[in-house]
Subunit: 463 residues, 2 copies
Amino acid sequence: VAEELLNYRNRIGSAIELRDQALVSELSAKMHYADLASLYEDLEDDERHFLASALGAGNFSPILADIPNTLVEGALGHFTEAEQLAILDSLPDDDRVDILQDLSDERRHEFLDLLDEKTQNDTRTLLRYGEDTAGGRMTTQIGKIGADMTVKQAIDHLRADLESTGTLARIFVVDEIGRLIGKIRLRDLAFNDWDTPIRDVLTTEENSILASADQEEAAKMLSRYDMVLLPVVDESNRLLGVITSDDAIEIIEEESTEDIEKGAGISGEQSEESYLNTSIKAHFRRRCGWLVILAFLAILSGFVMMRFEETLTNVYLLSLFLPMVVAAGGNTGGQASTMVIRAMALGQLKPRDTRRVAWKEFRLGLLLGGLLSVVIGVFAIFAPPALQFTLPPGVNFTQFGLTVAIALGVQVATSTLIGALLPIGARAIKMDPAIIAAPAITTVVDVTGMVIYFTVARSILGL
Amino acid sequence: VAEELLNYRNRIGSAIELRDQALVSELSAKMHYADLASLYEDLEDDERHFLASALGAGNFSPILADIPNTLVEGALGHFTEAEQLAILDSLPDDDRVDILQDLSDERRHEFLDLLDEKTQNDTRTLLRYGEDTAGGRMTTQIGKIGADMTVKQAIDHLRADLESTGTLARIFVVDEIGRLIGKIRLRDLAFNDWDTPIRDVLTTEENSILASADQEEAAKMLSRYDMVLLPVVDESNRLLGVITSDDAIEIIEEESTEDIEKGAGISGEQSEESYLNTSIKAHFRRRCGWLVILAFLAILSGFVMMRFEETLTNVYLLSLFLPMVVAAGGNTGGQASTMVIRAMALGQLKPRDTRRVAWKEFRLGLLLGGLLSVVIGVFAIFAPPALQFTLPPGVNFTQFGLTVAIALGVQVATSTLIGALLPIGARAIKMDPAIIAAPAITTVVDVTGMVIYFTVARSILGL
């Protein structure tokens, strides 16, 4: 399938270069709009214009909903005012809202005024919800029936609105004033007697989400309860719309990417454009912030090195294991923070679990520190003399190995604990725990590692 | 909702402690099986047994499908042979297969022999596919009709099998020998004339996946094409089953967690148990591997420090910025590798894009290196004298600041490029790019950073 797709992409790419409109139409008819959207993103400006014209407004509208938000305004520009309006009119309401949100305020109001009254009202309502809320993500074009209907009445009611109904995977049952009371499956209508009252075949809907709730919470519910559609309600439990499972997939992918990037010290919103299509400027802006902060923080390690000049210059062999002791803390601290942050993201850790996390990571820190101590300690006792490194008089290799082993053990144990507790602390003060990036933990434990190493060296080597 | 859930959990928790069977039954009836499964996981052994007995085999079976695989064998043990068989019989086929895969070979064969012939054959077929393949994940209980049927015949055909049909979100149309030719929605049956031939209402199905393909590929297709169900076929395009969107959500979450953990140098398979329920031993095993390897690698940095003893002891002030220059490379290299690995995971980078990635990251490296150079260089010229640090005769603070600035710029630029290219290189030799963990990149660029710093210092300060 991947090969076939690549083949189509290459062929349509050449057809666009040759400006062969007939061939472009023919090939694009066999491609999925998601693939066409990704092709559109990769083209040059004039090629984009040619592709859009070749497809026509009707075929282009699903593509418009799938391209990165930064390209939307330009993409609409391929068409006349009338065509633009037709595109907006033809889209599902959630896609229409997404596109309007990507336009300038002025353009958005122009378009809104041109839509017919019902569409206009629905759209204005949806635009009121934040982009990252359940309300901002939901689709309102759903199957909705009354509890007092019969199966026959329900089918007739749904049939009348079929064109504009996006999903019938679940049909929701509401009371007289639109409050959600339950759901049924289309099969319960299709395979039932026409006289059966809906009330007798509905299942109570236990799960719903407020329109103002975070989209991530909605995705988590869909995932946890294996739901196909999650109903979105207002404060009075009136049914407003649904979040679909493909919304949930998109939200989960976005959030994972965001968490992964935050973990590496990359700040700000992920671009909707692909890695290669994102501008250097945008990449730069997201990466530079933490780098500057961490660079200044890292100078603290330098101050510690300055402070212990005498220790290091006296037993310069200490420098052989200095970077390793310091780095081992960064590695274990990073592992611990990653585990804890991911467990929190998956909803596995509640604030009351802090003590259990600390106890777990404390024991892990001791075990990992112990393991490294023994392995590297033995190495530090026997390798340097074998490599003809020397120590100043009054210091022997056993003492030296012991220094490395103890410092390494303490550094790993404390770093593991620091790595686990920093994200928990961040959450306690209402910060996103993912903000505690691994590089930040590394920078912190670099400082502690230097202090530990030189302090242990001083006391064991009698400096 | 979250509060209400916590409330139920606390109440059923107390009821279990008090061994109040009536209350446990009453409360559990109002809870979702996913929440009961997570409660079960958190209980002690004897409490688990009490909960399972209180629920009875019938209510326990959906829970069994949702608990971590390590607990499955023990959970079945709460019930008699006959009850165990009833549980397995009542589960959807994909859940039954998952559970059988978690048992010992002997137990699995015992159970298989006891199932009725049809279930047994279906189950044996599914067991042949690897756990991580599309075939291993699919459900076979789908709506399947012939292209030669009429709408009426199709409805009758589906009605006969309704009990054992898991999903009707899409109904698949096959030819005489079972090859997939298209799909229809239930609404196209429910709202159509009974005499309409299926052939006239079906949509050709463009996307399907081989049973032997990786489950991740299936999840990506569902996500990319916003599909509700993805058909799974054999080599001859015969329809075997479907992957559902809730399978896709689960796969995507698993894969993200795995990538995040790999990125932090945590190896091996993620445990199905939650962070707190995973044993110390399992945590330890997953973290210790990289730590030992990286510890030995990090000693290379120590060798570089040993090699430049004279440089460092001559101008000991170099130690003030040494950790920072080294760490800045780790940070930018980690950012670059994270971006590239994620872009590859999202399918945005093809092997032929290597040159474009390198060019992008090269420019980014220069920009980030340039920024840090200027900021830290200025700091290095003016801060040390202000803090009364001294330099040996023949060296001035401008030279010193220049050393720091140039070394930092070169280190950041090269580290960015190394971070971006290592994962691409890993993929080129057929390794999982996510294996290039950020700590590994940090360890590599620590060594290059030391070399760069001291070499620049030597030539600028004339040592």
